[in-house]
Symmetry: C2
Subunit: 708 residues, 2 copies
């Protein structure tokens, strides 16, 4: 390989770009047409260029970027990962894969963007499969003799996976653009990445309500019946998802309604809307020969079929137009709220049968390797545009994503189902501009059911996905009351959640954040339990080694809530709290932060902590998010012994007009008078558009959430 | 991609070669310096060129070979695979990987050589990672509309993994040489492949005895003590393997003896030899800075270290000379019998920490991707040469192998441990010129212990690998007698096993063969049990699908024995027998072949079947294989009601002189006279060298193996 000269240009405030080798034109940022939020970037603290010592080399086969690491440096991100949070010392093979059952780096959403706890980020903008050696490769020249350790006679020091002080990015192509993001903390780096990609997404208010997906082959009448059962039982629900069966044909799909099950789609969608339900439609990329769009799309498709359907080349505007026209007419125009974009990832386990091969060729000149890495992004972009052009918002599900996705209104999901991995994925998503739902499908026990439901109610999408199991929130009668309580609590927290998402859009702060993004006061040094020496086992662990537990099972929601889910089988758990005083949101127990605390709240509660001085904007529990024009009460809950400030975001909750400034940030201030009495002030609403909130109620000095 | 013209030349009898694109010079066949056994190939039945319709295309990134398939065609081989035997409908990513825990095609020993049941084989000679689409990719142009099936309304016909009628070979390089092997049966194709690669390997006689590997850090005295315990308890053993700890340093290694544990290596090896034990040494590729060869090898090594050791470039003669000189002086010259070549594979799970990265560069110009694919082959070749040059034979273990390995005296092993997968791997190895041992390490129960021990005694290497568990053959006292019985039975079968290996060398017939290589009379059409409809499960099997069981848990040993291991938890199993009459070797039960039979032999027995008319050359059980000059009795066991013929191979059992014809095939014939009496004739031995066999004993008309 030949060395490449690296010249860095600041292309946005705190964002630098260089080019190594000969970049290929088709990249995630190019297909997304990213528009950085320059103004918001300018308002961030200044950052100096962090990567003076990076170097690069390459050949016609590959390009390599090398970045020096410090001994204790931690590395986060790289997309949606189930197995670990800190990638230091591991190799990550960033290919899209729907079956990421091993800790190799393959994932539904690979993002070659890494965040260092030293305060910088690196992104390679490529549609090729990057391998990142996060200190897992060691140059012979840089190896010191004393690093060679005798496994037999020095077991305590010997490591199966030695860690080096260089990070290497291997690109199987002639080159690419590389971006570096500055920042004094990992959070600043992530905010810059998100703002560079257009800011975080702001869902419609209804998107933050409860979601339920009905079984496949349900007819319109069955859907209505099941939806009304939610109302009868007092379970809030805003969105009903239709699974395969609403299409006239699926696997491959037509995108057309099945006339038997849905004789009058428009009437069906309207009746559901009148009851406060929005409809989300499952689909996948592969076009059935029986679809009206088959013939027009055929010449615009790849050279390989999937499930005997077309795999269209949606990097072509003409193909996008055909797809969008059909979706606009058949779905969006009658009020369908969005999509679940399935199977745009592909799996090796299933031998590519739901993915075209790497050598497939597309009319645009892209090959199958590139198209596979981009497919999830292309579908998200196409469908998002449909709603943008209609001055609406959408919020949906997607099984594959990648670089630059923060402004796309989609939440990732998986067919995997490990609860711990699901929570870890929620944490990891926050480093990479991604959202993730730990969806609930079924449970091994009432306990497992409750723990999963509690987690999902504190996630970007609170969803029961019953497509195959036919479960309902009340499927475990003995704990039905707990599940109802948490779904209703989510509804009460809507103003707080919605405000957190608004901040995601405006300054790039993820609404759900892993602990390394908690900001100051989080002592990442504290270990979770003792590092466990893996007992040598000739079958399970032939190389032994030690495994440190990470703080990857707890996260912040907004700035003032910390959620630490429990998992079936656990009665207590250790939680690390940032500095300051915290209260058990529902237990009232007080904790001193900056330390590790142990909690044992019982099955009734998920451990949630609220910050002293926090003001949570809440509302009354409702069956669904406020409809257009509807006003709801605002209940401002102040916690603890200190005064505080908070911001409340408001807009119409459903159009694109917030992007043009038709939105307001209201400031809430709580003070304690000399007499010890609390007073609260809330700045007024903007007359330019109706407020979501009617009467305003204050609660002061709470240590525990009251019922309302 | 541009089309390539394919011109096929017959380079050996029944073997055709073409070149696609621009081949790279460094390939498995080139590093092995393969010498085809032209004379033996010429003696095979003629074969016509089978692949008239193959086509190829390529670009600077990749080359593609396309081969049409018939609807029912089955595809076998591609190396050592644990998960399935028939690859039809799957995609195989043929990368070396020591953790092949998913069904992706990664394996310890990838071999881009496939065998069709229609009677042809295809090989790509490359050191790059080939992906083979075994009918798992479907060209859009070749897709018929009726192949699109609605999953919801046509569940019985819908398949999660549709199967196409094209096989595609994807090469991530500009080109390679492609070989096609003809034959009227899969067995003829495999024989051609093996003969093309120099024929199968012929181990020394002692290599077919029992192997035991002692725990790490054992001293010479401890090794001797443990070895003698085998003699005291009447457990045969020929080879003792030393694990890490015999080196002065290991992980990385020095290849030098540890002076504390082995103060006098030469004396130690000699004393063990006097007791009838040969010594096998564990090693791995990475050179410790404390090794004497470190400085000389350093300039001949790759740009990345592994465990802080050197990764030498053994494609360079100078590097091979350094390695071989040291091994000759320190090991071979004092009587060490061979090696266990560990960790020449590398794993993704362990993030390459025991493998250099793909972008490593080597002095020869090879990159890490190529060197990783070749490393196992290079070590096998280097060490085999050491013994060839010394007119000795070796037999050892290796964890990574590949193309063209049939003549290398090595057996593959793995850190994985599923008993069924181990037996399947034994079957699959036979399609690819590989040998495999289902080594025993430990067991969950006495039953598991017995079933594993029974299997390993009918494998290319009967080994207990106690490096980490310290187990002994008598570790489960309640079943000690069963284990002893099978180890002794293996010793009694040595003349039969040795003859089967001699045939592997001379005509390429694998000594252990999967059922598709059973030759005529095996009705591959018969299904094993009912195809199982996988119940749709949103966690375990979101795509449902059906799974057919394969006949991948039984195999032939030579021509006359069929072994069908049982697995812990099973009390009975279905076995498919080739046509003709068969007998339960130890039960005497008679079966009509050409059909599926059910057996339930109890824990005391592994189902083994012997062919009617077979003549098994056996001997008396001994503690170890005959020493030089020692003669053993020959017991010719004739089974059943028909007369028969058999061949008995003999040579000095330990030198290379058999390659120059210093060996003999003796013919045994059994006839039944008019009086109903059996007579047997055995052709005489060659006076040119001493016979292994003293007195000859005949047993006629057996239905069950007698005790002797």
């Amino acid at each position: 390989m030949q060395p490449y000269e690296l010249t860095w240009n600041e292309v946005q405030p705190g964002v630098w770009k260089t080019t190594i080798g000969r970049p290929e034109p088709l990249t995630p940022l190019s297909v997304l047409g990213i528009k950085p939020r320059t103004e918001a970037l300018r308002q961030m603290p200044e950052a100096a260029f962090p990567l003076a010592e990076a170097s690069s080399e390459g050949s016609s086969r590959r390009a390599l970027l090398r970045v020096p690491l410090t001994p204790e440096e931690k590395l986060y991100g790289l997309g949606l990962h189930f197995m670990r949070m800190n990638h230091r010392g591991r190799t990550r093979y960033l290919r899209v894969n729907s079956d990421p059952k091993q800790d190799t780096g393959e994932t539904h959403a690979p993002v070659p963007f890494i965040v260092s706890d030293r305060g910088y980020g690196v992104l390679i903008d490529t549609s090729r499969i990057v391998t990142v050696y996060c200190g897992s490769s060691m140059k012979e020249k840089e190896t010191a003799p004393e690093q060679a350790i005798d496994r037999n006679n020095d077991r305590s020091r010997w490591k199966a996976t030695p860690v080096s002080e260089t990070m290497e990015w291997l690109l199987p192509a002639e080159g690419a653009d590389v971006y570096v993001f500055g920042g004094s903390t990992p959070l600043e780096v992530v905010r810059r990445y998100n703002l560079f990609n257009g800011g975080g997404t702001l869902p419609p208010r209804w998107g933050l309500g409860f979601w339920h997906r009905v079984p496949t082959l349900y007819s319109g009448d069955q859907v209505k019946e099941e939806a009304l059962e939610f109302r009868r039982r007092g379970f809030p629900c805003d969105v009903i998802g239709l699974e395969p069966g609403w299409h006239s044909k699926s696997y491959p799909v037509t995108y057309e309604w099945n006339k038997e099950r849905f004789p009058e789609p428009a009437a069906f969608v309207k009746e559901m809307a009148d009851e406060g339900f929005r409809i989300n439609l499952w689909e996948h990329p592969y076009v059935s020969p029986e679809a009206a769009v088959y013939e027009p799309l055929r010449p615009l498709s790849g050279t390989y079929s999937v499930w005997a359907g077309l795999a269209p080349d949606y990097t072509l505007e003409e193909a996008r137009n055909i797809y969008q026209r059909l979706h606009r007419e058949a779905h969006v125009s009658i009020g369908v709220s969005g999509y679940k974009l399935d199977e745009c990832d592909g799996s090796e386990l299933t031998n590519n049968s739901w993915m075209f091969p790497a050598h497939a060729e597309f009319p645009s000149g892209a090959d199958g390797e590139q198209m596979r890495q981009l497919y999830g992004l292309l579908f998200q972009r196409m469908t998002a545009q449909l709603y943008e052009n209609d001055n609406q918002r959408t919020y949906g599900l997607v099984r594959a994503s990648g670089t630059g996705a923060s402004n796309l209104p989609y939440v990732l999901y998986s067919d995997l189902y490990d609860h711990r991995q699901f929570v870890r994925a929620l944490c990891n998503a926050s480093f990479s501009g991604l959202l993730w739902t730990p969806e609930v499908r079924k449970a091994a026990s009432a306990e497992d059911w409750v723990r999963r439901m509690q987690s999902v109610c504190f996630s970007p999408m609170a969803m029961l996905n019953a497509w195959g199991d036919g479960t309902k929130p009340w499927s475990f009668p003995e704990v039905e009351h707990i599940v109802r309580h948490y779904i209703r609590l989510r509804m009460r927290l809507l103003p707080y959640l919605y405000t957190a998402f608004a901040r995601y859009y405006e300054d790039g702060t993820p609404p759900f954040r892993a602990m390394p993004l908690a900001g100051s006061g989080y002592s990442s040094g504290a270990e979770k339990g003792q590092a466990q020496e893996k007992k040598l086992d000739t079958v399970e662990a032939a190389y032994g080694g030690t495994r440190k537990r990470e703080w990857d099972d707890q996260f912040l929601v907004g700035d003032d809530l910390l959620v630490a889910p429990l998992f079936a089988g656990e009665t207590e758990s250790d939680v690390i709290l940032p500095e300051g005083r915290w209260y058990g949101l529902e237990t009232g127990e007080a904790f001193e932060g900056g330390s590790v605390v142990r909690v044992a709240p019982g099955l009734e509660h998920i451990p949630v902590f609220v910050r002293d001085g926090a003001i949570l904007p809440m509302t009354a529990a409702a069956d669904h998010a406020p409809k257009p024009g509807e006003q709801v009460p605002l209940i401002l809950c102040h916690f603890g012994q200190s005064g505080g400030e908070a911001h409340l975001y408001d807009d119409d909750g459903r159009t694109q007009e917030y992007r043009e400034g038709r939105r307001i940030w209201r400031k809430a201030v709580v003070k304690q008078g000399a007499d010890g009495n609390w007073t609260g002030e809330l700045s007024s609403h903007d007359a330019a558009f109706p407020s979501t909130f009617g009467e305003v109620e204050w609660r002061f000095g709470l240590t525990q959430l009251p019922s309302f």
